[in-house]
């Protein structure tokens, strides 16, 4: 009963917010942002704990599994392009991973945050399930890692298009690699606004950075911490 209430209200709020975003196509009316704010406000006002919301919410979250599997479809459609730019893609993902690890580590050391928080933040650019696994292996706090992963995703989804227009990034390959490896699935699903090629390079990059990140993060933590 409670489960179906949170599923139905999440879907209805999301669909209304999609409508709102169509009417006012500004970045800050992005449906995931507005829906999350409304739901959080609602839960806080009605004093409903997260665990109760998740009784239904986890079914929606569970659909992320087949949704990520579905990214094989654009990837299949664009495979020729992927092969054509294989060196760019591989080196791009490595650059993204290394620059992400070094920048987050440097910032948190400058701000003098605890070792545990630094370990929690290191896997922020990898897709949620892998990030949580990595966080656990290196000694971070997995559920907090999941929240930071969402913030990284949001940053890309919300500000990615601004970054791309300032940097004059006109290539689908570059946008896909940057978004997939910096902002995983959340950023990648926003690439629908550009083209199918953007989307497929993005999904390839998010998959590859999950693999590369799962290997590099523990090595980085071992060397620097």
């Amino acid at each position: 009963m409670q489960a179906s209430i949170s599923i139905i209200s999440t879907v209805i709020i999301f669909l209304l917010m999609v409508k709102l975003h169509k009417r006012f196509p500004y970045q800050f009316f992005m449906p995931i942002l507005t829906s999350s704010i409304i739901i959080i406000a609602g839960l806080l006002l009605l004093n409903i704990p997260y665990e109760v919301y998740m009784e239904g919410g986890r079914y929606l979250q569970h659909l992320l599994g087949p949704a990520v599997v579905a990214l094989a479809y654009p990837l299949y459609n664009q495979w020729e392009m992927v092969l054509k730019y294989k060196y760019t893609i591989l080196s791009g993902i490595l650059i993204a991973m290394v620059s992400g690890l070094i920048s987050i580590y440097t910032l948190l050391v400058i701000f003098k945050l605890d070792k545990e928080l630094i370990l929690t933040a290191l896997p922020k650019s990898i897709t949620t399930p892998v990030a949580m696994q990595v966080s656990e292996t290196i000694g971070g706090i997995p559920p907090l890692t999941a929240v930071l992963v969402m913030i990284a995703g949001f940053t890309g989804a919300l500000l990615g298009s601004v970054v791309f227009s300032i940097g004059k990034i006109e290539s689908s390959i570059s946008r896909g690699i940057a978004m997939g490896s910096a902002s995983h699935g959340v950023g990648t699903s926003k690439l629908v606004d550009y083209s199918e090629l953007d989307l497929s390079i993005g999904s390839l990059s998010l998959g590859l950075s999950a693999v590369i990140g799962a290997i590099l993060c523990p090595i980085f933590a071992y060397i620097f911490m």
Partner: protein, 151 residues
């Protein structure tokens, strides 16, 4: 209402049935990913393993694109919705809004922007090099071929 031959359903309800059936196929691949992940202890999420499996099956033509096309497009279109529940998880961490919490969040945002800008700029540069290299190679092959023809 237009009816398909032999089916007492409208095209719309057929489409709904087709999308649901195709999502079930995608779920099968997802659970195959779960199984393989558990058996092999790969440091990869089940969904990424499922993605690779489906991709291989599509490449080898074991599965027709038409069998998953509509379901896949539907799920990708609604992907943002599925990210809402983990996003709501933020309410379990009110300390994120303390000083060190804000610094942590700000660092994640700044680092992500840094990665986006450096990666996309460097990629755009490498991409041009890779393309130029290929063109040069192709041109080289063509020159070689034309020399051959002239002799």
């Amino acid at each position: 209402m237009s009816l398909e031959k032999g089916f007492p359903f409208s095209n719309d309800s057929m489409r709904v049935v087709r999308i649901i059936a195709q999502i079930l196929i995608l779920y099968i691949f997802y659970y195959a990913g779960v199984l393989i992940g558990n058996l092999t202890k790969l440091p990869l999420p089940a969904s990424v393993i499922g993605l690779v499996l489906l991709f291989i099956c599509l490449q080898l033509k074991w599965i027709k694109v038409d069998y998953i096309k509509d379901g896949a497009s539907f799920l990708i279109g609604f992907m943002m919705l599925f990210f809402i529940p983990p996003m709501i998880g933020i309410i379990n961490y009110p300390e994120l809004f303390s000083l060190s919490g804000s610094l942590l969040m700000a660092s994640v945002i700044v680092s992500t922007l840094f990665v986006l800008i450096t990666t996309s700029l460097i990629c755009q540069w490498i991409e041009k090099k890779e393309l130029a290299m290929k063109e040069k190679k192709e041109k080289g092959e063509m020159d070689h071929a034309s020399k051959y023809i002239h002799h």
